[in-house]
Amino acid sequence: MARSTGCSEPGARSGASAGPRDHDVVGATLEGRGETATRTLALVVGLLLVATLASAQPPARPVSDETAHRIASELRCVVCQNLSVADSPSEMAAQMRAIVRERLAAGDSPEQVREYFVQRYGEWILLAPRRQGFNLVVWGFPVAAVALGLLAVAFRLRRWTRHAGATPARVDTAMSERIRRELEREP
């Protein structure tokens, strides 16, 4: 669009200024303008046509099988139980795989393809929740729980070892005396 106005404007200006001025000025200018307007219109229509054709047939990009498969494996097969679009033999999954490839071929990035499905199905369509916002709790909770557990174990261990070191085995003095005597009696 920007191109078409850029091209038509200089033409319109030069046409209007080049209009004959000898006789009826108003009429001549109008006539000149009319002619330029037609030419401009033709130019704009032509450019629009070219633009439409260009946008209607975007250059199909080669789609990498690996990328298509990776995206499909992250999407939930909507008619299955716990199967990804990549793994499901269902017709619906096949159609969704086709849509993934089609969008990639049209120039969408993998993230845009995922977003396309999320916008229609919600986050539910993703087999793993995204690592953002409240979802981070899901990713962070196990790590936090393990860290807490390790901390508790460390705390406990320290207490045990400290007890072992701090309190020497208390042996009854009478008993140790008896052991000593019996040992002495040994030949």
Binding site: V78, Q95, I99, Q119, R120, G122, W124
Partner: protein, 172 residues
């Protein structure tokens, strides 16, 4: 930890139990559609009778878009007469019922249409694109599109007379 506070330890399990209990009261099959409140995606299909069926041409009317399949028994069989009845009752008041047949064969679908004598426009969605555009994950699913072309409600499962009447009266 002193002996007095030892009873606190099992309490840590309570929030987890609470979360699990909350999970039990939810219906795992009810998935809120992000499309409610958003503009209905335009589609152009060819109806079984050969006529073009485009949502855009129905702007200004309240449109009931129903996704179905002939193999979807009993839900689709239950709701087919309901939809036909709604179409007959409400068409004078500016309501159009549109059937989109998915994951189906033309023969089985047409037999279904004859069986229930459906007179509202029905079209096959052979490539499944319209179904994905509407985030359909099973049949039947029904979308209610208002006069401005915005999706105002979604119903999963067979629609009943009450559901249709309640929703349409709200939109008309």
């Amino acid at each position: 930890m002193t002996h007095r506070w030892r009873w606190l330890l099992p309490m840590a399990a309570l929030p987890v139990l609470g979360l699990l209990a909350y999970g039990f009261v939810l219906d795992p099959r009810s998935i809120p559609s992000p499309l409610v409140g958003r503009p209905a995606a335009a589609f152009t299909l060819t109806a079984f009778d050969g006529s073009p069926l485009a949502l855009e041409t129905l702007r200004g009317k309240v449109v009931v878009v129903n996704f179905w399949a002939s193999w979807c028994n009993p839900a689709c069989y239950d709701e087919a007469p309901v939809l036909e009845r709604a179409w007959q009752t409400y068409r004078e008041r500016g309501v159009v019922v549109v059937g989109v047949d998915m994951q189906d064969t033309p023969e089985a679908a047409q037999a279904f249409i004859r069986r229930f004598q459906l007179t509202f426009p029905n079209a096959p969605d052979a490539a499944g694109k319209v179904a994905v555009e509407y985030g359909v994950y099973g049949v039947p699913e029904t979308f209610f599109v208002d006069r401005a072309g915005t999706i105002r409600a979604k119903h999963v499962g067979a629609v009943t007379d009450d559901v249709i009447r309640g929703t349409l009266d709200r939109l008309l």
